[in-house]
């Protein structure tokens, strides 16, 4: 997976300077926790439901191969074909070949994070196909040549004015006229989209779940565009990750309930569609050809490792919405299509730790992600494990390793520790200046300390440590 995660520092600084992005992120920080909490309050048993959701996902992962094979048999029985792609490139090649075999030129797509992960659009365009995203947010960023900045709301970073501007640039302005509000923009997108739907040769969707029991691919959207994408063109291709398998329909019922509440604070998303295969004899509509491309791309390597828990993820985005870091810098700063806590765990697995070393480190470990995750993924622990691997990969003379080694040593030698803390207390006291109400403050520290005082003042310590003072008072 291609990422720009190495530039995390620059990208996050840039994000912090974007006033409109910051405004959108403030909205996420304020609104999303509130609507999720309200949706939970309505169900007294949400915690129990999450436990069940976790158990279902855990059970699936323990026997992922057999559930996937069961799913494949059902799809085949219904007249569809299942393809197994070990890598992103292979998945792109398979999809392109299906499109060529169908004699297709125009493709439509509904939103899918897996296709973003494997950069399917770029691959298909290189092969000469025309691809149109039909989810409004995805369509906007496709026109703008951007990547999603949120796994559920891909165009979160784009303002209404920018949407109008983008439509003016890419659509026939005469016909469009001025676009002043969201309703007009929606109507504009809809008018463009209608033709695309009717003209498309192939429809590509993702899938939220693959039901082993019935062979259904479950597709959840809020705009209903996936239903048109799946049913109007002659060929429907589902592209999704191998971890999406779920044993039974009952299990899907549990997962759908925790998904919608966690994602958008609703009981259910607007559209939940169960796709079973191609049009059957006697049916008037639906695709003639049906394919499912199961993408591995690093997932099976996580199975059986300390990162297996991450494969439980149902992409609800609650961890992003509740993350202080995500809501400070947005998704693009992560340099990966997966952002926030889940992205910080997944990206090192998919793109390699060296490319994504910043991501697990850029967390306050506040634990809110784990608290809201509907499948109870211990995100901070997983991030900590990445940190451990990252630290161990550093050279022995690395500054951070040295600092931690010194701290460990000091804590093993009480006299050295006392001396160090005593010195620190005195030096810091010396560096302080008087402020309001008799409190002394340090306004500027040299060297490493500047990382503190560049952003905030530091209250001055009194100069004598608690332990010294305690012993003095009690002796």
């Amino acid at each position: 997976m291609e990422t720009t995660s190495r530039q995390f520092r620059q990208l996050s600084r840039h994000a912090l300077e974007q006033a409109t992005l910051q405004h959108s992120l403030d909205g996420v920080r304020e609104i999303m926790p509130r609507i999720r909490a309200a949706a939970l309050a309505e169900r007294g048993d949400f915690d129990a439901l999450c436990d069940r959701a976790r158990d279902i996902r855990e059970r699936t992962l323990r026997q992922l191969d057999s559930y996937l094979e069961a799913f494949e048999r059902r799809v085949q029985a219904a007249g569809g074909t299942v393809h197994w792609a070990a890598t992103g490139e292979e998945a792109c090649r398979i999809v392109a070949q299906i499109c060529r075999d169908a004699g297709a030129e125009r493709l439509i797509k509904s939103k899918s994070m897996v296709t973003e992960e494997i950069e399917l659009n770029a691959a298909l365009e290189r092969d000469g196909f025309t691809v149109t995203e039909t989810d409004l947010g995805e369509y906007i960023i496709q026109l703008r040549g951007e990547k999603p900045s949120h796994i559920l709301a891909p165009s979160l970073h784009v303002t209404l004015d920018e949407v109008a501007e983008t439509f003016h640039q890419h659509h026939d302005i005469e016909r469009s006229g001025p676009l002043t509000n969201a309703t007009e923009m929606l109507a504009e997108a809809r008018s463009i989209m209608r033709d695309k739907f009717l003209q498309a040769d192939v429809g590509i969707t993702g899938a939220n779940f693959l039901v082993a029991e019935t062979g259904a691919a479950v597709i959840v959207t809020n705009e209903g565009n996936a239903d048109l994408t799946a049913s109007l063109p002659d060929t429907h291709i589902v592209v999704t990750g191998i971890e999406k398998a779920v044993p039974t329909l009952d299990d899907v019922g549990v997962l759908l309930r925790v998904l919608a509440r966690s994602a958008i604070g609703e009981r259910l998303s607007n559209y939940t569609t169960f796709v079973h295969g191609p049009r059957r004899d006697g049916e008037a509509s639906g695709p003639a050809n049906y394919h499912v491309v199961l993408v591995d791309n690093g997932r099976s390597e996580m199975l059986g490792t300390e990162f297996q828990d991450m494969l439980r993820c149902i992409r609800c985005s609650a961890c992003l919405n509740h993350c202080p870091v995500y809501t400070a810098i947005g998704g693009h700063a992560y340099g990966s299509v997966y952002s926030g806590p889940m992205g910080a765990v997944l990206t090192p697995a998919f793109a390699g730790l060296p490319a994504a070393a910043h991501l697990p480190n850029a967390s306050t470990f506040c634990g809110r992600c784990e608290a809201v995750c509907p499948v109870r993924i211990p995100l901070p622990s997983l991030l900590r494990r990445w940190r451990q691997r990252e630290l161990n990969a550093r050279p022995v003379m690395d500054g951070q390793r040295f600092g931690l080694g010194l701290w460990r040593w000091l804590n093993h030698w009480p006299p050295a520790y006392s001396l160090a803390i005593r010195c620190a207390a005195r030096v810091l006291r010396r560096l302080s200046v008087p402020g309001r109400g008799g409190q002394r403050w340090i306004r500027r520290l040299p060297l490493l300390g500047a990382a503190w005082t560049d952003c905030r003042d530091l209250p001055a310590p009194p100069g004598r440590t608690f332990q010294d003072e305690w012993r003095r008072r009690r002796s």
């Binding site: 306050t364 470990f365 080694g405 804590n411 503190w452 952003c455 305690w470």
Partner: protein, 263 residues
């Protein structure tokens, strides 16, 4: 223990147990008064308080991925604190390190793991110890002013500390506890995070400060000095007069208009 000093129980009644104060390295260095406030509260509740020689809990190492280093530091802490009935820390974050994370640092089934688990069981964050274990429901303190309480992340989510500090604060005469928007949102400190990614940290604290200021409170109260340093430093840099104080100081009656915050 030769390097342990003991305080006498000044309530006159039979002591309810020996508490070792895990003062935390930040309190040791930055705000010793919090340590004295904690001692006072524990003694008033009828416990004998001792302060074994100590350093850090190892959290910087643990959270930076230095498990081995954290394990070494943990062994030391476990040895020192094992003899006491209880270990109490004026910090949710350090208490959670001992209580939640120590056992996992040692291999399953080992004696070290069992010792860590025994220590974990008797380790508490200060307000939860006072409220849940000591059964304290009110404190003899006065504070004429509005306070708003910030939930430290580890204390809240790893130890379930939320109700205890609030109930005890409300028992103070003259006080008004006014909740801020999202008191459970991170303050942006995050240990070494605030030094590694200072700009992101600053932005997170900015949101927090906005929520604090919206309450019009006179005092910002929290149970973790790390969070307090972060928020106090940001409030000060931006010229806001809200005083950031530790819950132990407030409960011990050390905070008030006539008592300077600097000791």
């Amino acid at each position: 223990m030769s390097d342990t000093t003991t305080a006498t129980n000044d309530s006159g009644a039979r002591p309810r147990g020996r508490v070792a104060l895990f003062v935390t390295c930040l309190v040791d260095l930055y705000r010793p008064e919090i340590g004295f406030a904690a001692v006072q509260l524990l003694e008033r509740a009828g416990f004998v308080v001792e302060v074994p020689r100590q350093g850090c809990c190892g959290q910087p190492n643990f959270n930076s991925g230095d498990r081995a280093g954290a394990g070494k530091i943990a062994s030391r802490v476990i040895d020192r604190f094992a003899p006491f009935d209880y270990v109490v820390a004026p910090s949710g974050s350090c208490a959670a390190m001992l209580r939640v994370h120590y056992p996992g640092l040692f291999s399953a089934g080992s004696e070290a793991r069992r010792a860590a688990a025994r220590l974990a069981e008797k380790t508490f964050e200060l307000t939860s110890f006072l409220y849940d274990i000591a059964g304290l429901r009110e404190v003899a303190a006065e504070l004429d002013g509005v306070v708003t309480y910030h939930d430290g992340c580890s204390g809240l989510r790893e130890l379930g500390v939320a109700r205890q500090p609030r109930e005890l604060l409300k028992s103070i005469s003259g006080i008004e506890l006014r909740e801020m928007n999202q008191p459970d949102a991170c303050c942006g400190f995050g240990g070494l995070f605030c030094m590694k990614y200072p700009e992101i940290s600053e932005r997170i604290t900015g949101s927090k400060v906005r929520d604090i200021l919206a309450t019009d409170a006179d005092y910002l109260v929290a149970g973790d000095l790390g969070c307090l340093l972060q928020m106090a430093g940001t409030l000060e840099r931006n010229g806001h007069a809200v005083k950031a104080v530790h819950v132990a100081e407030v409960l011990a009656g050390m905070i008030g208009p006539d008592r300077s915050a600097d000791h």
